[in-house]
Amino acid sequence: MVQVTTRCKTGVLSLVILGLVGCVNGTGGYRPPVEDRTGTGGVTQSVEPAATGVVVRPAVTREARKEQSVAVPVPTLMTSRPQSPAVVALLDNAQKQKKSGAMQAAESSLERAQRIAPRDPEIYYQWADIRRLEGQWSQAEQLALKGTNMAIGDVIMLRRLWLLIADVRLSSGNQSGAQQAKSKAYSY
């Protein structure tokens, strides 16, 4: 497969052709449609916008064995869900509370939002920003890192989070770390 992948880079024509035969490891913009078995039963989904996840298939039953010889994992794309109005309202509140200096209230709003949508990276971004404003550098960075873990596939959010990390590191006197974070931000 590595050899095939190397050849992917040899020319435009070969890229197209190899794409046709299933070169799934290509680093270009192409992403294959994949199975998401957490949905309504194996519906093929489109690929935008997405963060990737993994599904391991169930233990192979005797019936299933005819079609599938081993339990095979399938890389899955997670479709990012639109924010619910509840989360939007809470994030909005948090933003206002933060601006007015009511940090505890802002934090309470974020906690509520997190309980509803714990995978929403925006929550961690705002939380990290509160910690930054409070001068808690280490927690600010950790919360932002947690955000990057939730934002995989969302390049805009990843860039914002890494820029925030750069900012935090700079404020805490970690110049080289800040530079690394900045480069990371601009790699998206």
Binding site: V4, N25, A51, V56, P58, A59, M78, A86, P118, R119
Partner: protein, 776 residues
């Protein structure tokens, strides 16, 4: 001489005035005694006065801390079982009616519900009372509208009160203000207990005279003729013993109390102080608490028949206990109603309507207060590290926890049900089978439920926190994670062969597999999925115990594990709560978060005292976490945890690990879905052997919980540094999808196998042939 004479003459003089002087003497003595009596009485009165003032002021505010469950958030798009919402509303004492026109009422229909919330003053903001129309679609809340038809994005119900922190004397009360008490209650108390209340000066001479007549007739002390003020004194400072001495003390105290405080203040104190029942070892004081204890409703929502019952209870809470003696209680209640009608407080129609109604008392078992001793234990332990006992038991603090009553109910039911069915199957050897359970939300780290034993309401040994038992194979993910950090990959071949590790005492450690077989060369991920001991021991000894200990500590273990080789197979003892920290970190993609039961503590006025913030620390790289999560999913799909899929849909991704201690004395399971992480332990308190393993016991309770919870599927995010490759399992070489015996596995970029399996090489050549032909 002159002096002598003078004395004599004086003696003469006295003798001559003997009768007068005697009277004078008596008079002086009387005056002296009066003065002495006055001084002693005065001192006594001053003493009593100070006592009364101190106690009255102090007593009025001695309120145990209140502990609340999480408030239920309601928002459009929320996945919620209708039944769970119904239970929540019942737990809050909502009345199910045809028309919800007052707070605390709900109209319930198949696809919609109209809830008139009571509102609650949360520490972050006030949630006003609202009329909400909830529309359901399946098990989803499709929309929420307010009374004007506008969409409501988010609303909170009041939190269920789950308990309190009581002082030594075990008194419990919910303070109410006089205005909160229904008018009928005040009227009933005055009519039944003390008709002259607003006219007397603390004691009622009329009342005492009436009582004396009764007592003389009966030739014993049966009636006290106490005013409400005297009853308050009795409840405040004295024993309930009916002695004359006590009565005599009561009188001056009642007069003093009446002198210092106005009637309404005294009445308010009475409402909060009077003894109205016994809940186990806890004394139910005051009408605020009694209202909750008997009706699960706030006092201001009580109806006439309920109010009359409570007023009637004052005479004898035990004798008229509506749960134990409903007949007596009804008679007494109807008597109160009769008096109210005769005195013109209520109409005849109101009386007759009320008499027709049942007692309306809720079953004690349905009350949430006191229903979660194990969880409260956890909360108290945390609070006691920060607050002195007297502050907790008297300052009226409000403690907001993350306990989810629905998850808690599902957890304790799952545990009890599993234990019962295991007992049916295995009989006597597991007659005393016990268990413990911890459930968290993996992303927030909040503890949602805690079960301390098979009888979840029993306040005893809290196994979830205190049962220290060998964790068995639950330790393996830490061993394998260390292996991954040391350069192993999921396809690395481990040697599942007998191993013998010499120990310092001259003996050897020779672990065996559960099936007593050796499995030869097996892929890394499979060794974990199948929980093979020999290959785990080989791996652990290769990377070193220090690395494993370091990993356990990073993942959240706070005790220092002993560096014996047997640690690799889980000889270290931990409580379910301790091991939950480890799996919590794994479920949260390597971000360690303290497991929090308390969200916030405020004082009685709602001022924030302490907060337990969400705190994270990345302790394992996202890439290595991804790999171990893959292997833990394989446990569930094809390893020792696969039986879950006989009861859960294949579309639900789950990850976890079974654990069985040496000699099969402990049955463990720890695992997670998208929004639930749970650890279950089953075993015997006497450490006896079990006739089942982790998958035969604890996993069943875990599965049962997940079936009820219907959690979100676990979605492992694929970090940027991860790529997937097809690998031949028997050799660990790169291969291709079409080849036999292959599997697609994740690898950290740059760590994929370098060599190709024979089949893959052929296929590559075939592909190239085809490629060449295309251009020919």
């Amino acid at each position: 001489m002159a002096k002598k004479r003078a004395r004599k003459s004086s003696r003469k003089g006295r003798i001559s005035s003997k009768p007068r002087s005697f009277l004078k003497k008596i008079l002086i003595l009387f005056l002296k005694l009066s003065l002495l009596g006055g001084v002693i009485g005065g001192i006594g009165l001053i003493y009593l006065d100070i006592q009364i003032k101190n106690k009255f002021e102090g007593k009025r505010w001695a309120v145990p801390a209140k502990v609340y469950a999480r408030p239920l958030e309601l928002y459009a798009g929320q996945v919620i079982e209708r039944d769970a919402l119904k239970q929540e509303l019942k737990g809050l004492g909502y009345r199910f009616v045809n028309r919800a026109d007052q707070p605390g009422m709900v109209e319930w229909a198949t696809s919609r519900a109209r809830v008139y919330t009571r509102g609650f003053s949360f520490p972050d903001s006030d949630e006003p009372a609202k009329r909400l129309l909830l529309n359901f679609r399946g098990n989803q809340l499709a929309s929420i509208k307010d009374s004007k038809g506008r969409s409501v994005s988010l609303s909170r119900l009041e939190p269920i009160l789950i308990g309190g922190i009581y002082p030594q004397d075990n008194e419990d009360r919910d303070l109410i203000r006089l205005e909160q008490a229904p008018d009928a209650l005040i009227a009933a108390l005055i009519q039944i207990e003390d008709r002259d209340y607003y006219d007397h000066f603390g004691i009622s001479l009329k009342g005492i005279a009436r009582a004396m007549v009764v007592n003389v007739k009966a030739r014993r002390f049966i009636q006290g003729g106490s005013t409400l003020t005297q009853q308050l004194i009795k409840n405040f400072y004295l024993t309930s013993e009916r002695t004359l001495a006590r009565k005599l003390m009561e009188i001056p105290m009642a007069i003093l109390l009446d002198l210092h405080y106005d009637k309404d203040e005294i009445l308010e104190a009475y409402l909060n102080e009077v003894y109205l029942g016994q809940s186990g070892s806890r004394a139910v004081h005051g009408f605020g608490l009694a209202s909750q204890y008997y009706f699960a409703q706030p006092i201001n929502e009580l109806k006439l028949h309920q109010v009359a019952l409570l007023a009637g209870l004052v005479k004898g809470p035990s004798y008229y206990d509506p749960r134990r003696h409903p007949e007596r209680a009804k008679k007494r209640r109807d008597l109160v109603l009769k008096v109210l009608q005769e005195q013109g407080v209520i109409s005849m129609k109101e009386r007759l309507d009320a008499e027709k109604l049942g007692l309306g008392v809720v079953q004690q078992r349905s009350l949430h207060k006191g229903a979660y001793p194990a969880y409260l234990d956890l909360v108290k332990r945390q609070l006691r590290t920060e607050y002195p006992e007297h502050v907790l038991s008297s300052e009226g603090l409000r403690v907001f926890t993350s306990l989810d009553p629905t998850v808690q109910a599902n957890s304790s039911n799952a545990l009890t049900k599993t234990i019962t069915s295991l007992q049916k199957r295995h009989g006597k050897p597991v007659g005393e089978l016990q268990g413990g359970m911890v459930v968290t939300d993996p992303q927030t780290g909040e503890v949602l439920a805690l079960v301390g034993g098979r009888n979840a309401r029993y306040q005893g040994f809290n196994r979830a926190l205190d049962a220290l038992r060998p964790i068995g194979s639950l330790v393996k993910p830490a061993v394998f994670l260390s292996g991954l950090e040391e350069g192993y990959t999921l396809s690395s071949l481990l040697d599942d062969q007998p191993i013998s590790v010499p120990l310092p005492n001259g003996k050897s450690w020779v672990p065996k597999n559960f099936d007593r077989q050796s499995h030869g060369k097996i892929p890394f991920y499979k060794a974990l999925a199948k929980s093979y001991n020999q290959s785990t021991a080989q791996l652990g000894m290769d990377i070193g115990l220090d690395r494993v200990i370091d990993m356990l500590e990073r993942l959240g273990v706070q005790r220092e594990p002993k560096p014996y080789p047997s640690l690799l197979l889980g000889a270290e003892s931990m409580s379910p709560f301790e091991i939950a920290r480890v799996y919590q970190t794994i479920a949260a993609n390597g971000f360690r978060t303290p497991m929090r039961a308390i969200r916030l503590v405020t004082d009685s006025e709602g001022e924030e005292l302490s907060r337990y913030p969400f705190d994270v620390k990345q302790v394992v790289s996202a890439e290595n976490m991804h790999l171990i999560q893959y292997a833990l999913q394989a446990v569930m799909r094809e390893g020792t945890g696969r039986s879950v899929y006989s009861r859960l849909p294949a579309s639900m991704n789950l990850a976890g690990k079974t654990g069985t201690s040496n000699d099969q004395r402990d049955s463990w399971f720890a695992g997670f879905a998208g929004d639930r992480m749970a650890v279950v332990w089953l075993g015997l308190d006497n450490n006896g052997k079990l006739p089942f393993t982790g998958s035969g016991g604890a996993l069943k309770a875990w599965t049962d919980l997940m079936v009820k919870e219907r959690p979100q599927s676990f979605m492992a995010v694929q970090p940027e540094g991860i790529e997937y490759h097809w690998v031949e399992e028997s050799t660990g070489f790169l291969s291709a999808e079409r080849c036999e015996g292959v599997r697609q596995l994740p690898f950290i970029k740059g760590t994929a196998p370098q060599q190709y399996a024979e089949c893959a090489e052929n296929q590559t050549e075939e592909s190239l042939d085809w490629f060449k032909k295309w251009f020919r």
